[in-house]
């Protein structure tokens, strides 16, 4: 079971403000069945333009229901300008915290509120405001949204981004894009910090072996794998690198010819210009 706080369990067991308001002033729907959670938020304003009534419907886990319930309690009585200041962290704090893997539930609450306010101001009923390009196609998460969770919650890893907004949680194809966004946001944050200059240095043997492994992994293996083959690093001695072909490549003459040229070229490019590659002879 998850480590839910008593407050999360209370709001899950006894959700406040469940339902749909008839003729609401604003309506926000986010999430989808495919994503595994979805939230429909409706609110009504009073004469002083404060949120006098707010109701929700949620499809999702215990923390999704609790986050929605908490959101309605937090924004009741607020003006839209005040409500706009509510962050996903406020929702999590109200509940005494959420497990990190469940932070996306609080983000869903904040998004629904955003969409509902947008709906009140523009009449736009789109389920989700899609600004900028979609980065995670599995869960339909945009660059804008990822940038916002990274900045608001000071995230540093792809895994954290997945926990907060689900992006990257399925096929994983967008992991690199998410990493780029993190780097970009963190670059903005760090802009004023002095840039450290690293002096050039000679590789230690250990660093060299690691770099060779990395280069084989990134530059050589993918091509061999396509044909059901593989390459293994057997030994490194000075500038001499000994490798062995595996799988389908082990019996392939063409592979043997290209071995020296391709592998050597890659290792010279990425590791050191004086590398010599040899095949392991049994």
């Amino acid at each position: 079971m998850w480590e839910y706080t008593d407050k999360v369990l209370d709001h899950f067991r006894n959700p406040r403000n469940v339902g749909v308001i008839d003729k609401p002033d604003g309506i926000g729907e986010v999430g989808s069945m495919a994503c595994g959670d979805a939230l429909k938020l409706t609110f009504k304003l009073d004469a002083r333009k404060r949120i006098s009534d707010v109701k929700f419907q949620t499809f999702g886990c215990a923390s999704a229901i609790a986050s929605s319930s908490a959101l309605t309690e937090i924004i009741k009585g607020k003006t839209l300008e005040e409500a706009e200041q509510v962050t996903n962290q406020d929702i999590a704090d109200y509940l005494g915290g959420l497990p990190e893997q469940k932070m996306h539930c609080s983000v869903m609450g904040r998004e629904a509120l955003e969409v509902a306010i947008h709906n009140y101001r523009t009449g736009d009923t789109s389920k989700k405001i899609l600004e900028g390009k979609v980065v995670c196609h599995c869960f339909g998460v945009t660059e804008e949204e990822i940038t916002r969770v990274v900045r608001d919650n000071r995230l540093t890893t792809v895994e954290q981004v997945t926990n907060f907004c689900k992006a990257g949680g399925a096929c994983g194809k967008c992991h690199k894009d998410i990493a780029d966004i993190i780097a970009k946001v963190r670059g903005e944050i760090r802009e004023s910090a002095p840039v450290e200059v690293q002096p050039p240095h000679k590789l230690t043997t250990l660093q060299k072996i690691k770099l060779i492994e990395e280069t084989l992994d990134k530059e050589v293996r993918p091509a061999l794998r396509k044909d059901g083959g593989d390459i293994e690093l057997i030994d490194v001695s000075g500038n001499q690198v000994i490798v062995a072909l595996r799988g389908m490549c082990a019996n392939c003459q063409v592979a043997r010819f290209t071995l020296k040229d391709v592998v050597e070229a890659k290792l010279r490019e990425f590791v050191s210009p004086d590398i010599m590659v040899e095949e392991d002879k049994p």
């Binding site: 959700p15 979805a38 429909k40 215990a62 999704a64 689900k166 949680g169 595996r246």
Partner: protein, 385 residues
């Protein structure tokens, strides 16, 4: 509050008879079975007796049973040990719905350049034997197909599959962790080479498992450093747990007809009752070939974790294939492989029974569950409007 445990595919209660059988091996009979003195020597025969009890349940010879620490170790040993012993001459064929203890080694083999084929399943969770036949055509293979699926209870035609694998010159492994103790298994009557089982799924404690290795099958050991288990698995024998597993297998043999009749009848009553009382549900998996104790059912428009927490508040233990319960963001790989639509996948719930359940348990669930489903649907934005 009443407590109803319907999560027996996750783990089972330890049978009191098993605990009684184990206790002396903590208090008095703590010797090392390999020792050349009476402290240890008298323990050896209890280990061998347990080996016979396990073998008897499977219709095997006791020399064909290797004790391991769990089902996962058995699966790893069967797969990695066989592939290693074959020195690269085998392909590996399995299904998309196996337990991670099989799928992860499969992915490791793939990364090392082996030909690995994962067979698809249809919407009822069954594999296509034609696809297996074609996969076997690529050359000799180790084939690992589970006897019964842990999430849906769907049983594969292991006898037939083993025939095909042997005819093609391959080696047949089956992860029978969910089947042993629930179904009659007779390894004299089929051609399975390797079979994994786990103690805690059949009322023995966690931390003990076994691998059946048919005579003449070559498997390299995973654990080196001891002559135990005929050199196939180093490490001093976990005597109390081995004795416990033996006793649990003996009990399972006696109770197997009860599993097939009384437990199956309770499961069927649970299924019928839910279908009658809750609209918008679907049963997942091939109902004609299903473990007698398992019911996997999807409640549309709501999410599994919420169902489990409400049931837990009512003293009922079940399990779900929903994304939220797995800690990942996607619903269970089994449910997805079957092509269950998202609308049903997130609300898939598994009830798995044992011989310790009673009719009163089923009555209690049938009384408690419908209001939970109704309550969650009243909160959900989906469904009937």
């Amino acid at each position: 509050m009443k407590k109803v445990y319907l999560d027996n595919n996750a783990t089972t209660a330890i049978a009191p008879e098993v605990i009684d059988a184990m206790t002396p091996f903590f208090r008095e009979l703590w010797g090392n079975p390999s020792s050349m003195h009476a402290f240890g020597g008298q323990v050896r025969r209890h280990v061998e007796n347990a080996r016979r009890q396990v073998a008897d349940l499977l219709g095997a010879d006791q020399s064909e049973i290797i004790f391991t620490s769990c089902g996962t170790e058995s699966d790893n040993m069967a797969i990695r040990g066989t592939m290693e012993a074959a020195a690269g001459r085998l392909n590996f064929i399995t299904t998309r719905v196996e337990h991670p203890a099989v799928l992860e080694p499969a992915r490791m083999l793939k990364d090392r350049g082996y030909n690995v084929i994962e067979l698809d399943v249809d919407s009822s969770g069954q594999i296509d034997l034609g696809q297996l036949e074609r996969a076997l055509g690529y050359g000799p293979a180790l084939v690992s197909v589970m006897w019964a699926n842990n999430e849906t209870g769907v049983m594969f035609p292991i006898g037939k599959i083993a025939e095909m694998v042997k005819a093609a010159g391959g080696i047949m492994h089956t992860d029978a962790v969910q089947a042993v103790g629930k179904l009659p298994i007779d390894l004299r009557a089929n051609k399975v080479d390797l079979l994994s089982l786990s103690g805690h799924k059949l009322h023995a404690p966690k931390g003990i498992g076994a691998l059946y290795v048919r005579k003449g099958t070559r498997v390299a050991p995973l654990l080196l450093g001891g002559h135990q288990e005929g050199g196939k698995r180093g490490g001093t024998e976990n005597v109390p747990y081995i004795v416990g597993l033996g006793k649990a297998c003996e009990l399972a043999g006696k109770n197997i007809s009860e599993e097939m009749t009384r437990v199956a009848a309770m499961r069927d009553r649970l299924q019928k009752g839910i279908l009658k009382k809750c609209p918008d549900v679907r049963v997942n998996g091939d109902q004609a070939h299903r473990l007698p104790n398992t019911l996997n059912i999807s409640f549309l428009y709501i999410e599994g974790e919420s169902i489990l927490y409400h049931l837990s508040d009512l003293g009922i233990a079940a399990s779900s294939g929903s994304a939220c319960t797995s800690g990942s963001l996607e619903p269970s790989h089994v449910i997805r492989a079957m092509g269950v639509p998202f609308i049903a996948a997130h609300g898939s719930t598994r009830f798995s029974l044992s011989r310790y359940n009673t009719d009163a348990d089923i009555d209690y669930v049938l009384k408690s569950l419908p209001p939970v489903i109704e309550k969650l649907r009243s909160i959900s934005p989906f469904g009937r409007t």
